[in-house]
Symmetry: C2
């Protein structure tokens, strides 16, 4: 698999850390003017479109500025490249519709960088849900809490950043959809840039509430206020409440409470998202699932951001 990497602003480590013998970084380029890109592998290009036209990679790994990423994905899909892209896939609904159309007209794979769901705790949750019956999932609560640290300049402007709900909240929306397997019906949210440490329009906090199909409900709380002295960068949490039990991941632990009482689950070894993506491509499996998940989560991100901007509930 000949891979080109566009940009350097997202989770390219998912790729660089897990290349296998059949995969090779052949070229790289910035995704936007001003993005510094320099890798030890592959040939450097100054322009991503030239790269795609000349190199014709089999896969484009797209991790340029989040709000500027859609044109790269769109062009790559049209040129018949598989795409492994940072989430959200786009910063606007119009671009998302174009990507959706281009993917449907192609025969390639489109995957989103939802790597956190492959880490051990959340993978353990996922596997547990496959093999145990929690009854009907009624509520999913999710939390993203990050250290603010030093944010790149492109994060200070919505045009290039997309916003905290799409960029950080995408994970919570990913989990709600991944574990609940229910369509979103109504979304509502608030967000604020107050207390963001001088980071332009970057929203430092957000809260979201969702009504899913079958009257299931969900929440997502997001903040960049985790103190710098905390032992981990993030404090991710997810709590899945079914009619027959509750499972949750918090602090690196997974706990179940059901009719047997409360117990901590042994953590499963984490798979790695990029090798899983490659494996599915080579086996010709899951093309629809990979693309649908990334497209749908992006759609919900953008609707939820709009709900927050308007301070209204939006029905899908």
């Amino acid at each position: 698999m000949k891979i080109a990497v566009i940009g350097s602003s997202g989770h390219k480590n998912y790729v660089f850390e897990t290349l296998d013998r059949q995969s090779e970084i052949v070229a790289y380029a910035p995704g936007v003017e001003g993005e510094e890109v320099s890798y030890e592998k592959g040939r450097a290009y100054g322009n991503w479109k030239t790269l795609i036209d000349e190199v014709r990679p089999e896969m484009v790994v797209n991790n340029t500025w989040y709000g500027s990423a859609a044109p790269v994905t769109l062009y790559a899909l049209k040129k018949g490249c598989h795409v492994f892209a940072e989430k959200p896939l786009s910063g606007t609904e119009e671009e998302l519709a174009q990507i959706d159309k281009a993917w449907k007209e192609s025969s390639v794979y489109l995957g989103g960088m939802f790597g956190i769901s492959y880490e051990s705790p959340l993978h353990t949750v996922n596997e547990y849900l496959k093999s145990h019956d929690l009854g009907d999932i009624r509520i999913i609560n999710t939390q993203k809490s990050y250290k603010l640290g030093k944010r790149a300049d492109f994060c200070k402007d919505r045009d290039t950043y997309t916003g905290t709900i799409p960029w950080v909240g995408a994970h919570g929306i990913d989990w709600i959809y991944r574990y609940g397997k229910k369509q979103f019906r109504t979304v509502t949210a608030f967000h604020s840039a107050v207390g963001n440490g001088g980071n332009g329009s970057l929203e430092s906090i957000a809260v979201c509430a969702f009504k899913l199909e079958g009257e299931a409900l969900a929440t997502l709380t997001i903040d960049y206020l985790r103190p710098g002295a905390a032992e981990t960068h993030g404090d991710d949490r997810t709590r899945i409440v079914g009619t027959k039990g509750i499972i949750e991941a918090q602090g690196g632990k997974v706990t179940v409470v059901d009719d047997q009482g409360t117990r901590e689950l042994p953590l499963l070894e984490a798979p790695l998202i990029f090798p899983e993506f490659l494996k599915d491509i080579r086996a010709g499996k899951g093309r629809e699932e990979w693309a649908h998940h990334a497209l749908y989560v992006t759609e919900i991100c953008l609707k939820t951001r709009l709900a927050a901007d308007r301070e209204e509930s939006l029905t899908l």
Copy 2:
């Protein structure tokens, strides 16, 4: 203090378990027809209005059916009795306005049964916040999770129950207001009675999102889905995120993370709500604070329930 207890459907134990030598239950009566009331102390009356007229208690403890409680509180206030009442104070905004007016025209105390905030973990949170600077409070996340168990018949009908957001959610709204000390600006919520085990219109789940003054945000998630085998009846949680640190209570523990890292706080001995109420009455302190808190939390409960019914965001 001569005390009359009306009804038997709420937290009268706050009173019975903590009477002091200067307090006495002199009489009791049902708050509505059909409510069974029988206590070892005091004289039994068949009608609460007759009781108040004849006994002229100094205080009425009102814990009749939640949706039927407002007329008792209103009458008692008008007759010059202090009132210690189950939350919410009323099931309608009209009744709440009447109670507010009657209290303002009186010189008595009106306290709400927010006893959970006096238990050790939340008391520890409260005392910590008084003596430590978490900076500006930006987010408060709250959770109420209860075992459904067997619910009384009056909980199956909103007219007598008020709804899960007012009855259970009142605690979360209490905490958000108590710890954040910020006015609510916009409320939004969803709730559903699906999976409520045949309990009429009782909502088994609810999620709420709040925008507070200064663009602070808050969430509240409520469910009656805690498995019967769980070690405690409730799984209450509150997480308070400030610009200088985060404090949370969960699983009976209180944890702080700030620029010193993460640490568990020693739990303080819990005060008891009813003795605190009596103490303030006798000292002539806090009359405004007790009433305002119960009135305001009830107001937010009712607005949030309306937002959930309409699936709209409501600005106050």
